[in-house]
Amino acid sequence: MGRTPTGQTRLDKSRRRWEEETLAPSWKRFPPRLPEFTSISGHPIQALYGPDDLEDFDPEQELGFPGEPPYTRGIHPSMYRGRLWTMRQFSGFGTAADTNRRFLYLLQQGQTGLSVAFDLPTLMGLDSDHPTAAGEIGKCGVAVDTLADMEVLFRDIDLEAISTSMTINCPAAVIWAMFLAHAEKSGYSWTNLRGTLQNDILKEYIAQKEWIYPPHPSMRLVTDTIAFATRNVPQWNSVSISGYHIREAGSTALQELAFTLRDGIEYVEAAIRGGLQVDDFAPRLSFFFNAHNDFFEEVAKYRAARKVWYRVMTERFGCKDPRSCVLRFHAQTAGCSLTAQQPHNNIVRTAIQALAAILGGTQSLHTNSMDETYALPTEQAATIALRSQQILATESEVANTVDPLAGSYFVEKLTRELEKGCWDYFEKIDAMGGMVAAIERCYPQKEILDAAYRYQQAVERGEKVIVGVNRFVADEERPIDTLSIESGVADKQLDGLHRVKSSRDGLAVQRSLAELRRAAATDRNLMPFLLSCVKAYATLGEVCEELKQVFGAYEEPVF
């Protein structure tokens, strides 16, 4: 704002005058409701923010213009005036046929992108007939054992017309190979495929805890997919660097921001070490953040994320391509904020969270369903969740102007504070030798657990309120309808798997697995080998087990 020192003094003086003459007497009539006001992350919040809170604030430098560095105001010049965010509801349950029906329904209802939820055995790289899969098949998502399931999952879906996101991590390369094999067999060109592979193994060690291999070979699988996407599937987002799960595990907004971006740095460094040029792959890195309850903190978090990433990519990695420096992200409303008590209130929570993501400039959005503290959503609950986005997009008029909260003293101050906190965390993690080293000493894991425990205690003391849980509790809870996955799903899935196993060319499977294993022991890119395996209808479990023989298994350190 280019204030002169005299201007600054005048502001300080008038603020002090206001505090003494106007504010102080009012405390006598209305004492503060709380001893301390903090964000949901425990960050102190002042009663008022003014120009004096933004020392040396230079909008040209700190905000720039939308679509221009440092991208604080958004990555597109016109943001939602040109094109709304993608409404991408995460869904999957039962068999591939069940989920395919839900996909077709959601597309018919106006959803504009697909996002696949896999069941836990699939997420862990296990086949449905593995002993530990009992009771888990098709429960949290769709079961995919072989290419045959992938073919059914995307039946009648035009893969060049719709973009597909796949939430899968430790076996991501294998599942992606199945998707690419299906696309190829169906006559789609890989160069026209658009979508995202979550493929973010670092946040698995940090928060979501679905892993197979130790960090180093896991990072190699990630860099292999980055390199393969760069050369063969150029419109594909090879990694969706995710803060969502970090936040769900109980982190603060700042920890979510800092650990996620530091994970991003780790992937960029690994890919560069693998021989790639940063500007060849960095434009296809994308991000995934949580949209939690604290509205302003969340908006500030997204704005700070873009600003920090821009500086990281230009200053730390010397990127020349502007597309390498823009942080594109998907947001999902906070599952951990939903309550089992008075579940209809979750619709309201989700709408507020979604609004924060929109005003923070998200590229795509998933809104949770109100019944998800009980089970996967019913069709009705999933429809309300999608409608909430549609109401925000079309009725509320919030999408009319770009970055509408810019210039708010409060939001700009919070954005700065989060940015600063983020650099501080980077410094600490760099000093430890990077994120893999930090994970090995459980640094982010401990930070998150401490934050989660602090929040839980604040809730139990009533300092942080959860409506229906520690305030405004209902005497009687009326149960809601929930979706149950019929037990027949497991039998159907197992039948399908056995049919594939008995009809495939067993010799071709053995040969492809042996070649994969040999390649895994070298530093060759594994994607072509994985493609051969899945095309021979090797199962997900067989492929992951083969790699485990070379890579070993991860054991979580005790902390």
């Binding site: 530990t132 949290c140 009980y374």
Partner: protein, 135 residues
């Protein structure tokens, strides 16, 4: 104290990795003076029951958010009966729909704590229902 502290095994059966709840409960029980053993993730019913036996626990707290509770929890209580560990108090928490609760209680889960339960409620329940071994 006239009694030894209550020993609790906090265990994570099922394939999900959501350990926020389990770890918070483990810390809260410890803060309340109990001795807590945390199993780590993805433990099979056999592993959990063996750990309960070896650690000589008074209580097992099972945390499961994967949806496999109807299959896994009865297996654990069945194995406990086989090993004559019927006197161990078994409680569970996680994503468990209301309609599944009666069946789970019938198979030997004493109490199911749903999302939003305070750690104090859980501590109180364990203290009231679990008799620690006298000195």
């Amino acid at each position: 104290m006239s009694e030894n502290p209550i020993r609790v095994l906090v265990a994570k059966p099922g394939l999900d990795g959501h350990d926020r709840g389990a770890k918070i409960i483990a810390r809260a029980l410890r803060d309340a003076g109990m001795e807590v053993i945390y199993s780590g993730l993805r433990q099979s019913p056999e592993q959990i029951v063996n750990a309960a036996l070896q650690e000589d626990v008074n209580c097992i707290g099972l945390s499961i958010l994967s949806g496999a509770h109807n299959v896994i929890l009865p297996r654990i209580t069945g194995l406990l009966r086989e090993k004559k560990l019927d006197d161990v108090l078994v409680v569970a928490g996680g994503i468990i729909p209301d309609q599944d609760i009666p069946k789970l209680k019938a198979c030997g889960i004493s109490e199911i704590f749903l999302p939003g339960t305070s750690t104090q409620t859980i501590i109180k329940y364990i203290l009231e229902n679990c008799r620690a071994a006298p000195v």
